[in-house]
């Protein structure tokens, strides 16, 4: 069993978990969500082992580096962080149905990594610029941040589709109360904001140790800053201008679009950040 195989299987396990969670919601069967949780945990275990195996394999090949060095590896890690964060939220808040809005993101990221023809899954050596312990700190924190924003995005969608008043027993009434969802979005955004902040800072310290400038307005850097500004705006709107619920959900969706652009879109712009 090598890491690629394990990660391919993980992709299907995650797909199954999302289907179960969505099924639990649409058919109003809580039991399905319980199975979904077990499936998700299984997928998460596979995901974890896949990353560890890949790490070991890279040493066996002789390249020897942490598996955070290209688009494929970062997407796999992104799935891992979103899954981890979601599991934590479900554990802490004891809400199951919300998995229907978080697990599809876990699946989509790893499926995109495995299936997109433009993303190579080969283990490649590290170019000199990436040889730094800061790489690990930078990638892990950035992706924890992205994961927070991704889950916040899922919950924002959930918030927006739930009407103010729901008849008992309907699909929408199965969703958590608006207050709880609002709180969840805020918690996820704060989590994401903290880690994006640390991610930008570690990247900046790294840039200073590698190239002598902690900030150089390269497009990827700039876009991460733009994303950071958007979430800072969200926090202030919420704290000081009393924005809640629907309006905050929209801001969080815009923020997540900025995350996606920072992650994928920047590669279309002139610049040198080769991945992640």
């Amino acid at each position: 069993m090598n890491s690629s195989m394990l990660l391919s299987i993980t992709t299907f396990v995650y797909a199954l978990a999302s289907v179960l969670y969505i099924g639990a919601w649409t058919f109003k069967k809580d039991a399905l969500a319980k199975i979904g949780l077990f499936t998700l945990v299984a997928g998460f275990t596979g995901n974890t082992l896949g990353i560890i195996f890949r790490w070991i394999e890279s040493y066996q090949i002789g390249y020897g580096h942490a598996p955070f060095s290209n688009m494929y590896e970062s997407l796999v890690f992104f799935s891992w962080t979103v899954a981890a964060l979601y599991l934590f939220v479900e554990y802490k808040y004891r809400e199951r149905i919300i998995g229907a809005f978080a697990t599809p993101l876990v699946f989509l990221a790893i499926a995109y990594a495995s299936l997109s023809p433009s993303i190579g899954s080969k283990i490649t050596p590290l170019i000199p610029a990436l040889k730094s312990n800061w790489l690990i700190a930078h990638v892990i924190t950035c992706f924890l941040g992205y994961a927070g924003f991704a889950v916040a995005f899922g919950f924002s969608v959930m918030y927006l589709i739930k009407p103010e008043k729901t008849a008992p027993g309907t699909l929408m009434s199965k969703l958590p109360s608006l207050d709880i969802m609002d709180e969840l979005i805020h918690q996820m955004v704060m989590f994401g904001f903290l880690f994006l902040t640390i991610g930008i800072i570690t990247g900046s310290v790294w840039a200073n140790s590698a190239w002598g400038t902690y900030w150089s307005w390269d497009p990827k850097e700039t876009w991460s800053l733009i994303t950071w500004f958007i979430y800072a705006i969200l926090l202030h709107l919420r704290m000081m201008r009393g924005w809640h619920g629907r309006r905050i959900s929209w801001v969080s969706i815009v923020g997540f679009l900025a995350v996606l652009f920072t992650y994928f879109g920047v590669n279309l712009l002139p610049g040198l950040h080769s991945y992640a």
Partner: protein
């Protein structure tokens, strides 16, 4: 909270303007949206590039607005200054109020506030008030925070709180931004970025400022002892390494390898591996094949060295290394040049004519063809501007012969001809149809290393900002000022009603869960 502001005595409308969070939101929005421009329009490129790309009209418009260097344009800096003033004014304005909350003269609990709370945990328990009180006070003191017990109707009320100070977290966040901006300002005022290319074995004492021709002196000398680049078997570069020595007053004080991600720092300056290129060559081995005898000869030569050719073929001097050579419109790439002097014999006349033709057409273009490789390219955090700049600067280093003269007749019987021996095309010199065809059998590249030199006396300040930012965010997001109220009421003999409620300045859901857990513990406590 908003109403309290007038009390601080700043009724002044300018002050009010700068305390507003509306301004914050607007400024942040403007910063975010204008920042996009700089990621769409390449920054700091040449005018010619922009004119070609955007046309004359847009070029002029963009230039007026400083779009080509927008992150240091006046209007962008103005936005940043606005943000800074906003933070300062807002913090001063609010700190007064917050301070009073955090350090009140006497902490008072308002039971009414807790009574109004919707979420509460209630249970009955078989015990008397005083034993429950001592049990609960101990527990809450240990697990939650400092308690204050007051007399209530038919029993007691225990208040407790924790994390009052965490209300300061957000000031730490805002202060951290000021530290970063101050650090950036210090860097801009007293720092610089420069570039220096040092050929192997050469000593330098200054670098060229980025974007100008000005030199800055280091205050010491540095020598590049060697440069090495290693490759993976895939052909990707593995490591770029310069061995650098620092020399002060003629004494070597430090020798260190500089690799990407491990710069050399010395006396406030940092030297980063940023590019490299071929400067020249060493240990050149020439191969000569005689057109007359068919014999082959090899010579190991240094630059400037002259050898006597066999078969009375004359003398040959190896002059230098060139980065490019233009032959009938084709660049033949790196090669060596040398001077051949031979005596005239009858059968060479025809060849001479041929030679004259091609030699006039040929000219070198050593500087434009020079190869510079930037080592930051396709990096995770690559810096387009820095790398672009260093390769441009790298071109200034050149060596080797730049001009060829056509064959000269020294005397009627002696000819002097400059010949070019390309590395990549070993049969090229055959075309000259001389006595010998020259080719390069072997040589070693002599590199130069391109180092970026920076001085930034503001970095420490920025880093303090980084640390404050992380600590401040952690406090603000994950810690809160929580207050708890446990009411114990007698309910007949040896029985009590317990009513628990609590508030928090953030994360009410988290607080609710905490209270539920606490209530469960209190209910099941061993007596």
């Amino acid at each position: 909270m908003a109403k309290d502001k007038s009390k601080t005595g700043h009724g002044n409308p300018v002050w009010k303007f700068f305390t507003s969070v509306k301004l914050t939101v607007v400024v942040l929005l403007l910063l975010a949206s204008t920042s996009v421009i700089g990621t769409l329009i390449p920054q700091n490129s040449s005018e010619a590039f922009y004119i070609q790309k955007y046309g004359e009209v847009f070029f002029n418009l963009f230039k007026t607005l400083d779009i080509f260097d927008m992150y240091s344009a006046w209007w962008f800096l103005l936005l940043i200054i606005l943000l800074a003033v906003n933070i300062v004014v807002c913090s001063i304005d609010k700190l007064n109020t917050t301070w009073k909350i955090i350090f009140p003269e006497k902490i008072v609990f308002n039971h009414e506030r807790f009574i109004r709370l919707k979420h509460r945990e209630k249970f009955d328990i078989k015990d008397n008030v005083s034993s429950l009180q001592s049990l609960y006070v101990d527990f809450i003191n240990k697990k939650f925070g400092q308690t204050v017990t007051e007399k209530g109707e038919n029993g007691v009320v225990i208040f407790a709180e924790t994390g009052r100070w965490t209300r300061l977290g957000v000031y730490v966040v805002h202060l951290s931004i000021l530290f970063m901006l101050a650090g950036a300002l210090m860097g801009a005022l007293w720092g610089y970025k420069a570039f220096v290319a040092i050929p192997e074995g050469v000593t330098v004492d200054s670098a060229t400022l980025r974007g100008s021709d000005t030199k800055v002196a280091f205050g010491f000398e540095m020598r590049c002892n060697s440069f090495n680049v290693s490759f993976y078997d895939t052909g990707q570069p593995e490591e770029f390494k310069s061995n650098i020595s620092i020399i002060e007053d003629g004494v070597e004080t430090l020798t260190k390898d500089v690799i990407v991600n491990a710069p050399l720092r010395y006396k406030g300056l940092s030297f980063y591996q940023s590019s490299y290129g071929t400067d020249s060559a060493k240990n050149v081995v020439l191969r000569l094949t005689s057109n007359e005898s068919g014999m082959g000869y090899s010579f190991k030569m240094d630059f400037g060295q002259t050898i006597d050719l066999p078969e009375s073929g004359g003398k040959f001097t190896l002059n230098g290394f060139v980065h490019g050579y233009n032959f009938r419109g084709h660049n033949l790439g790196e090669g060596f040049v040398g001077t051949l002097v031979y005596s005239d014999t009858s059968d060479h006349n025809e060849i001479n004519k041929k030679l004259e033709n091609s030699a006039t057409k040929a000219d070198t273009n050593a500087s434009t063809a020079q190869e510079t490789t930037s080592v930051g390219q396709s990096s995770a955090d690559g810096q387009s501007s820095a790398d672009g700049q260093s390769s441009a600067d790298g071109e200034k280093v050149d060596s080797g012969t730049e001009e060829f003269t056509a064959e000269k007749k020294i005397t009627p019987h002696f000819h002097e001809v400059e010949i070019y021996i390309p590395v990549k095309f070993p049969t090229f010199d055959k075309m000259r149809r001389g006595h010998f065809a020259f080719e390069i059998e072997d040589y070693e590249k002599k590199y130069y290393t391109g180092l970026q030199v920076t001085r930034d006396p503001g970095v420490w300040c920025v880093y303090i900002g980084f640390i404050f930012m992380i600590i401040g965010c952690w406090i603000t997001f994950f810690m809160s000022h929580q207050q708890l109220c446990v009411e114990i009421k007698t309910n007949g003999k040896d029985a009590c009603k317990i009513d628990i409620s609590g508030t928090s300045n953030r994360n009410s859901q988290g607080m609710k869960l905490r209270i539920m857990k606490l209530a469960a513990k209190l209910q099941n406590m061993q007596r």
